[in-house]
Amino acid sequence: MRKRRLAAWSVAPTVVLLPALARAHQGGSDAGLMAGLMHPVFGPDHLLAMISVGVVSVQLGGANIWRIPLAFVGAMVVGAVLGLQQVALPYSELGIAASVLMLGMGIVVAHRGMSPWPITALIAFFGSLHGYVHGAEIPGSVSPALYTLGFVISTAVLHLFGMIIGEVATMRRWLSKGLRFTGAAVTVSGAAFLLQSFSGTA
């Protein structure tokens, strides 16, 4: 009871401090946040990869539903810091294309019985690449913090849509089969992105 009361009272400073945190950006513009929110949505490679992460997390089930998206987003923030610092990371676009291909394959093969750790590690690695590209492509004169906040929220939304798709697919066998075929289509798109990236780097 005392613990619960303490938790309830600890909420009060949060109520007071939340706007104060935002006040740190006083004088800035909301353009950074908007740019960050829109960045993952309007790149088809980012969009497919991030929705696929949500789908795969549901297919693996259990705690993976939150663990895998969290691994992606966490690694993405680390990658974004590198991108914002303009650290050179060659072939990151190739890695993004490969992520679409691999995640599409993930949708085709992922199931509850398999070990989640190799997929989690791979997804975290791809998350860092996506974050790096988001960070490196920050538009000039926007707040990096707001821009990062924007694409983190946007990415989480795409993961959630993937989770909803994955969850709906568990309700009917034909939906589940359809989702596997969609995964195959995502794999093909990934291969196309990969070819495009190869021709771009060659």
């Binding site: 950006h25 800035g28 946040l33 908007m34 939304v157 909803i164």
Partner: protein, 144 residues
């Protein structure tokens, strides 16, 4: 994680992301500290943000508290979220002289000739997530 928890997880995200995005978008010179705004308009924006942040915390408590009627919390949060985000769809039509855009140079999306303000797009996404979260959250019997 069961289906109900996934629904609650989605609704929690809608609550928290909504409060953070709204506060971050408004707490700057385009809105709350805009010198062109009347002080009382700024007062109302601050009032809205503080109210939104506080009610978000109340709704999170309502959603996750132990209760003999968990469906009540899920329904209340879904209705609260709908109440926050649906006005974006009709305020411009309801109150002449209002605008979804903070200034004329805010970039808008054009889809099939239709102009979509970014905040309208965010509201639509939040409403879709609210419906999905409510639908999944009301399911108390199936494993996800």
């Amino acid at each position: 994680m069961n289906r109900n928890k996934l629904g609650k997880f989605i609704l929690s995200f809608v609550l928290v992301a909504g409060a953070i995005v709204s506060t971050a978008v408004d707490w700057n010179t385009t809105h709350l500290f805009n010198p062109a705004w009347h002080p009382h308009a700024r007062f109302h924006d601050a009032l809205f943000l503080l109210f939104l942040d506080a009610t978000t915390l109340v709704m999170l408590w309502l959603l996750w508290r132990r209760s003999a009627e968990p469906a009540v919390g899920i329904t209340a949060v879904a209705l609260y979220s709908a109440a926050v985000w649906t006005p974006f769809l009709y305020i411009e039509a309801l109150i002449p002289g209002t605008s979804l855009l903070a200034s004329a140079d805010v970039p808008v999306l054009r889809i099939a000739g239709m102009v979509l303000a970014p905040n309208l797009l965010i509201a639509i996404v939040m409403l879709v997530l609210t419906i999905a979260g409510y639908w999944l959250g009301r399911d108390f019997g199936t494993d996800a």
